[in-house]
Symmetry: C2
């Protein structure tokens, strides 16, 4: 096949065939097709979009570019969950134990974070000794024994995505729905679960921006999953303000533990209950959504979920004592407070600026491979809608870098808006997209 | 500067600044900026276009990426001419001698052809011994002595364009008016003439396709030239059918000689008279267009122009005898005829298919550096509008490749349409764009 002709075909608005897409992805992964031709093609896809058939072909070609995980030696239904990411998003830490305690196996592969704060693995490393290095045998045994295991992402899964993502990152082509959707779903499909629940974020702290765009993405993700034979459901949830009160690795783990104890913030608890209910329902382990919800609530209130969390930490070599003695978590050497400049109602806490402030304080990575400061972060005692007085604490900043507080405080000042009227409350869940819904949707996508 | 941010800026529809464009062109020429980022940027430019200020900045940055030619040691006005290319386009062979004989110096740098048939240099190599290898000193001396010299293109001129064009060629980004216009004009500006006449082709044998698009390109070219301090004018001329009757190197030289003898085809003669008149007028050597036209006609009819052509061939080492003994030109070993399948009027001769047929016969290059068969080509005795009988010869094919006649004949069959009614005549010149006209035009361009 002739690459310039394929680029031109997409440039001029025609759909690429399954064979053409496979040829490009295979050739690029193998190194026969150069970066510059793929870069031009990616920009053409940015402008022209892809129809559903192209998106499926792309997802399948990426999936088949590497190894896939076979979970069939783990008995019972397996369910996976993915969040498009945001600020203060510690749902996986709560959900994994909830769903495992409710009897559905969670065999999870997780990556490290890039951006505002760490990923799930980074967060769990707040427990001294916690490790995701384990053999395939150990992984399966642990899932069988305690219902949950968390392993690092294999380099053999979806190599095409790794190469494509690196190229998109430096060519301003990250921000394309067909490319985002195929990237997410090829990795989820490679991970082997039969059911997939997706948490698509919308708002300032997400990459999706508008609600309309997030719903579009949710539709695409569910369409891909269902077309590839996985039961798939997506919630579109709010990321205009950070989730919960805590942002930063050890701080988020503490909030997750509080949540498992039934003392979590309302937004986090609601989102976990909903996601957990869907995970249980979709797995097929329970007869319906109401039973699933009751089951989740029961293991939550009984403390069984917290017990699974404790077992998970211990099974993977972590010292679980901080669960009961939070002072043992990594502590930042400096804490400072950011106070309200005036009296009024909090009308906005921009997750984006809070995330950038956390990054300044050391909670995240600016470039891949950077070490992370597990103790760094921000605690926000009040959420949007709260009434505050001038001088009241709006944020507690934790860091080991004295010079970071200046820039972080500026970002936090920019994140907050204090109004003279109580704002309308924002829902935590904006939309739910399931198989029945996507069947009624149009099937192509530009940006 | 941050390349992904610059790509994104253009992707999102904003104009790049002069400094940003210079940074990109300098960095790319020097090899600091990788192909893949420029490829993504080119595709974004394809979709978003560029405004006039961006196009000027791009042209200037490309021009300044290498050396420029200084013609100031050649006394008198110097004028240059550029054609966007087509099938059977031998105007340069006629125009150079016409203008030089009329007293305006023609110091021309020419490239080799890629595509349908050879470039001006290739064509002149139909004269045994003809060479464009000469020192700077020899070049200037020859222009002084006989009014015209033809040199090969220096590698030091506009290196940015060479690199960019090679990348555009393999990333489906050739076909963008701002990129085409800046590429053409950066090379013309580097070549040193004070006045530039452009022949922008429209129709099936041109890359511009529609008349509207050709006029857009003509406007851009003239705007750039005038903004950079050169007197510039463009004609939009017809390339729906091949120009004249002959396609292929030695065949075209013979037609050019016939034309210089006053026995050329009407379309070629008209176009050369018009272009020559504009070249003379724009050079400032004559007081106005009517005087210029009379001067051109006078040197044409008197045989002075043919004499300059003869001198040019001899001065550059060529054996001029074939001018009077055409049998000495390279001759193809096989000639075949293509006959009309029916009686009627020729309503179409697609220049594109004729060009591709000539390429099959060996008259052009499919890839850079390929040798060319100077004897190969096609002679078309009748033009659009002629009445022909079934079995009458429509084309004479010349080649040394027996196996080429099959595919070439198929292309020729596809090129011809024979109708039952006499078609409307097409003009040879569709539009004229000068400095006064572009001042009234909108100043931005997409594709």
């Amino acid at each position: 096949m002739n690459l310039p002709a394929l680029i031109q075909k997409k440039r001029d608005g025609s759909a690429l065939t399954k064979e053409e897409i496979r040829y490009i992805i295979e050739g690029y992964t193998a190194g026969h097709i150069p970066d510059y031709q793929v870069a031009a093609l990616l920009m053409a896809i940015y402008f022209r979009g892809m129809d559903m058939e192209e998106i499926l072909s792309l997802t399948r070609a990426m999936l088949e570019s590497g190894a896939t995980i076979d979970l069939s030696d783990i008995p019972g239904p397996k369910v996976d969950k993915h969040s498009t990411g945001g600020v203060g998003d510690k749902t996986s830490l709560v959900l994994g134990p909830l769903v495992a305690a409710a009897g559905v196996k969670v065999a999870k592969l997780s990556g490290r974070g890039l951006g505002y704060s760490g990923g799930t693995i980074d967060k769990l490393e707040s427990f001294k000794g916690f490790s995701v290095e384990m053999s395939r045998q150990q992984f399966v045994e642990q899932v069988k024994n305690i219902g949950i295991a968390l392993s690092g992402q294999s380099k053999e899964l979806v190599p095409a995505d790794k190469k494509l993502y690196a190229l998109r990152d430096v060519t301003a082509t990250v921000d394309s729905l067909p490319l985002i959707a195929s990237s997410i779903m090829s990795k989820k499909l490679a991970s082997g679960a039969e059911a997939i629940v997706l948490d698509v974020k919308t708002g300032s702290g997400s990459f999706n921006g508008s609600l309309e765009r997030a719903i579009k993405l949710a539709n695409l993700l569910v369409s891909i999953g269902e077309s590839m034979g996985r039961r798939t459901l997506a919630l579109v949830s709010d990321m205009e303000q950070p989730l919960g009160h805590a942002v930063g690795n050890a701080l988020e783990v503490q909030e997750a533990i509080a949540c498992l104890r039934g003392k979590g913030p309302a937004d986090l608890s609601t989102l976990c209950l909903e996601l957990g209910t869907h995970m249980l329902t979709l797995s097929g382990a329970v007869p319906g959504r109401e039973v699933a919800r009751q089951k989740i609530q029961q293991v939550w209130q009984s403390g069984q979920a917290l017990e699974v969390f404790r077992q998970l930490v211990a099974a993977q070599g972590g010292d679980p004592r901080p669960i009961d003695e939070p002072a043992l978590f990594p502590q930042a050497s400096i804490q400072r407070e950011f106070r309200s400049p005036k009296t009024g109602w909090i009308s906005r806490i921009s997750a984006r600026e809070i995330g950038l402030a956390a990054l300044e304080l050391g909670a995240g990575r600016k470039v891949k491979g950077e070490p992370i400061d597990l103790s760094a972060g921000i605690f926000l005692p009040h959420k949007v809608g709260a009434q505050v007085k001038k001088g009241q604490v709006l944020a507690r900043l934790h860091s080991n870098r004295a010079q970071a507080f200046g820039p972080a405080s500026e970002l936090i000042a920019a994140a907050f808006e204090i109004g003279s009227q109580q704002p309308e409350p924002r829902p935590i869940i904006w939309a739910e997209v399931d198989a029945a819904k996507v069947k009624k949707q149009p099937s192509s996508s530009s940006n």
